[in-house]
């Protein structure tokens, strides 16, 4: 059995890649992808601990998270479409009308 540390390291690495993408990219689609990465890092943890403790609850939650991620993407794509319609691009740093 693979020790849980490896899973945790993998999950941390994926999460950090997601955070890096979120902080550095300007394209809204890449934002969505980065968020997916972060969600899936969490999923890895859930499944890993579930396997480690021999309890399927974690894996069930993993399924829920996937459904949630799908919903999130659906809304995210919708937002990006509206963004494009209003600003004719999907660069998030340009859409700054909602500020002080």
């Amino acid at each position: 059995m693979v020790p849980p540390q490896y899973y945790l390291l993998l999950a941390a690495a994926v999460f950090c890649i997601g955070v890096f993408g979120l902080l550095t990219r300007r394209n809204a689609l890449l934002f969505l992808m980065s968020v997916e990465l972060m969600l899936n890092a969490a999923n890895i943890n859930l499944v890993a601990f579930s396997y480690y403790w021999g309890n399927v609850t974690g894996q069930t939650f993993g399924l829920f998270t996937m459904a949630l991620a799908a919903a999130e993407v659906a809304i995210g794509i919708g937002i990006i479409l509206v963004l494009y319609r209003n600003f004719h691009e999907i660069d998030v740093t340009e859409a700054t009308t909602m500020r002080w």
Binding site: V19, V92, A95, R99
Partner: protein, 683 residues
């Protein structure tokens, strides 16, 4: 059990009903009622008078009544049984007597108003009668009040009505300003009264004048507290005795304002701007009596505080003389009467302070009659003179208005204290009580006695100066040559009051009792009935005074009466010498600067205005500066800090999503680090 006392509230509510009717008429703006709304007022006061007499008859039969009608607030006070604020009715000998006085004078004044206001073609009559109705209702409510708070509320209502009626002719310059002055000056006194009411509640947990064995009224509680039988809450670290004196003096503030005692008397002469019947009703017979009545009502409380009694006696005695001296130089008829009113209420206060409870009540009774009579007589003269009040424009009215003259003369003889008119008996009793209590080692009372005695010739002098100038000699103007005739509605009340002013002294012939032993001091016996805690002998037991005589009681009585009567005759004789001539001249001019001093009221108004301008106004300004600067300043500083920091911090809302993401990430990292350090995983 439906006794006569169950109709008690009706005494107060009837005039209130007439007030509502008159207000409705005034609001409708049309002439709905005959006589401008006077009829409901006359009917209501007549009804109240009948009820009051019935109550007095029941009280004479030995019945008394003390019932709470309505409890309008109940509060729990820590460490006591709780506080009840109530309206209640207290009918005992004192209040039933006062009810009869007030309703009788109110009825006569209503009738007189028919002649003075209606026949004179005045406008705004519904408003006038509404004021009279509300005044009568609130005065009666004050008289029957069974606790101090209710008394205070009606006391204020009475003051409001006084304001409304003084300012009746509100289009002229004088009356509104006089009304404001009256309101403000009496309010100044009432402020202390209010503090006193709260103090009574805080000290005793009740403000009932009389109570049951289990829950006594506050005068009895004060007495028990001094004997150590009741634990009263005292404040300021004072012993019960000293604290009761403080509370008594606070309540006295309201009394001094309302009863126009020095130094808050300045409003009363100005109040003469009101219509003359109003002056008769409010500023002579009833409202001004409210202060004296209040002291009499809670006399058990004052009786346990010798200091408060001393202050009352001294203020009263001083006011009696002080106001009297101003009366001797005035030119207007009503001004003389105004100062004599202040002076006479000074006598009552002197009597109360000197332990002469019966004497004060007696003088209250006789004064109500003869002063209402004098004011109504003055009203009759003023009406005949087409509202010229200057006595130097009158003269020779004796033969042209005989009813007015003879009734006015009866009132003047009573006021001057000439035997056997009503005023002689009551004033003599006041001086007698003060003297015998003062002789027994009370120097304060002896000073008050000297003041009172000196005021006697002054009173007689200004009274008869007024009579001679008005009615005797030759007519000095055309108006006085052919005065307007007055009708029955003026003469009727004058005749009734004239008879009363002559014979009312018979209700308490105390000196006669001393001389002959016959029990003719009816008022004394009357006031000795009712609730055992409110009787004369109870007050004498708890009071600080005892009597001493100059060579026996009979000698003292005769000596006192002879001295006061002699002084009164001296004043009268002087007035006769100087003014009972065909062509009188202003002899007081010979007084020179002293006359100016008297005519300008010892510059009382000036110094009060000076105090207001130079002391109160800067104080108010300083308070305003403190309020604007410190209190508001602190609040404004807090808000400006918020505003400033808000205007800076909002800059982080850049609208760039990446920045938000960076902040969230930084926050998360910071949180993790903090947890790590606190949890001991890091470092």
């Amino acid at each position: 059990m439906a006794g006569i006392f169950d109709f008690g509230p009706a005494i107060v509510l009837l005039p209130f009903l007439s007030f509502l009717i008159a207000v409705g008429t005034a609001l409708s703006g049309r002439d709905l009622l005959p006589k401008g709304g006077a009829i409901p007022g006359i009917a209501a006061t007549a009804g109240s008078l009948v009820l009051s007499i019935a109550m007095a008859a029941a009280v004479a039969g030995g019945e008394v009544y003390d019932e709470t009608i309505y409890t309008w607030a109940v509060g729990a006070v820590p460490g006591s049984t709780g506080l009840e604020l109530t309206f209640g009715l207290l009918i005992d000998p004192l209040s039933s007597m006062m009810l009869v006085i007030v309703t009788l004078v109110a009825l006569l004044v209503h009738v007189f108003s028919l002649g003075y206001m209606n026949d004179d073609g005045q406008t705004g009559l519904p408003r006038y009668y509404a004021g009279l109705g509300l005044f009568t209702a609130s005065m009666l409510g004050f008289v029957v009040a069974d606790n101090l708070l209710m008394a205070f509320m009606f006391f204020e209502l009475v003051g409001l009505c006084s304001y409304l009626l003084i300012g009746f002719h509100f289009r002229e310059p004088g009356p509104p300003s006089a009304a404001k002055k009256a309101f403000l000056v009496t309010r100044f006194g009432d402020y202390f009264f209010l503090v006193g009411v709260v103090a009574v509640f805080a000290t005793f947990g009740t403000a009932q004048f009389v109570g049951t064995e289990a829950a006594p009224g506050f005068p009895v509680l004060a007495e028990q507290a001094l004997h150590g039988e009741f634990a009263a809450n005292t404040f300021l670290g004072l012993a019960p005795q000293a604290w009761f004196t403080v509370v008594g003096l606070l309540v006295l503030g309201g009394v001094i304002g309302k009863s126009a005692q020095f130094p808050l008397h300045t409003w009363l002469p100005d109040a003469m701007e009101g219509p003359t019947p109003v002056s008769a009703l409010i500023h002579a017979a009833t409202m001004v009596a409210a202060g004296v009545y209040l002291v009499a009502r809670m006399y058990g409380f004052y009786a346990v505080s010798p200091t408060a009694l001393g202050v009352i006696a001294l203020v009263g005695g001083f006011t009696a003389l002080f106001a009297g001296t101003m009366g001797i130089v005035k030119r207007e008829l009503k001004q003389v009467l105004a100062y004599s009113t202040i002076s006479q209420y000074g006598y009552m206060m002197l009597a109360l302070g000197a332990g002469g409870y019966v004497a004060a009540t007696f003088h209250l009774l006789t004064h109500a009659f003869f002063k209402a009579l004098l004011f109504l007589g003055a009203g009759s003269v003023i009406l005949a003179m087409h509202h010229n009040e200057n006595m130097w424009d009158m003269g020779g009215l004796k033969d042209k208005m005989p009813v007015t003259y003879y009734s006015f003369l009866a009132g003047s003889l009573a006021l001057a204290g000439i035997f056997p008119f009503a005023g002689f008996w009551s004033k003599d009793e006041i001086l007698f009580e003060t003297l015998i209590h003062g002789l027994n080692g009370q120097p304060l009372l002896l000073i008050g006695y000297v003041f009172g005695l000196l005021a006697v010739p002054v009173t007689a002098f200004y009274t008869f100066r007024m009579v001679f100038l008005t009615f005797h000699g030759d007519a000095r103007t055309e108006q006085a040559e052919s005065p307007e005739s007055v009708r029955w509605n003026v003469k009727g009340p004058l005749a009734v009051l004239g008879v009363l002013a002559t014979v009312a002294g018979a209700v308490n012939l105390a000196p006669v009792r001393v001389l002959t032993g016959a029990h003719v001091d009816f008022l004394h016996a009357w006031l000795d009935g009712g609730f055992s805690d409110l009787t004369v002998h109870h007050y004498e037991e708890i009071g600080p005074y005892s009597s001493a005589y100059i060579g026996g009681e009979v000698t003292t009585v005769l000596l006192g009466a002879a001295v006061s009567l002699g002084l009164a005759l001296l004043g009268l004789g002087l007035a006769y010498r100087l003014y009972a001539v065909p062509e009188p001249v202003e002899h007081t001019d010979k007084l020179g600067a002293a006359k100016d001093l008297l005519y300008d009221n010892y510059y009382q108004d000036e110094y009060q205005v000076y105090l207001a301008n130079r002391v109160v106004l800067p104080l108010a300004r300083a308070a305003d500066t403190f309020d604007q600067g410190v209190v508001d300043g602190a609040v404004n500083a807090v808000s400006s800090v918020s505003l400033f920091s808000g205007s800076r911090i909002r800059r982080i809302q850049t609208g760039v999503v990446s920045n938000y993401a960076a902040l969230v990430t930084l926050g998360l990292t910071a949180l993790l680090v903090v947890f790590g350090v606190l949890g001991g995983w890091l470092l």
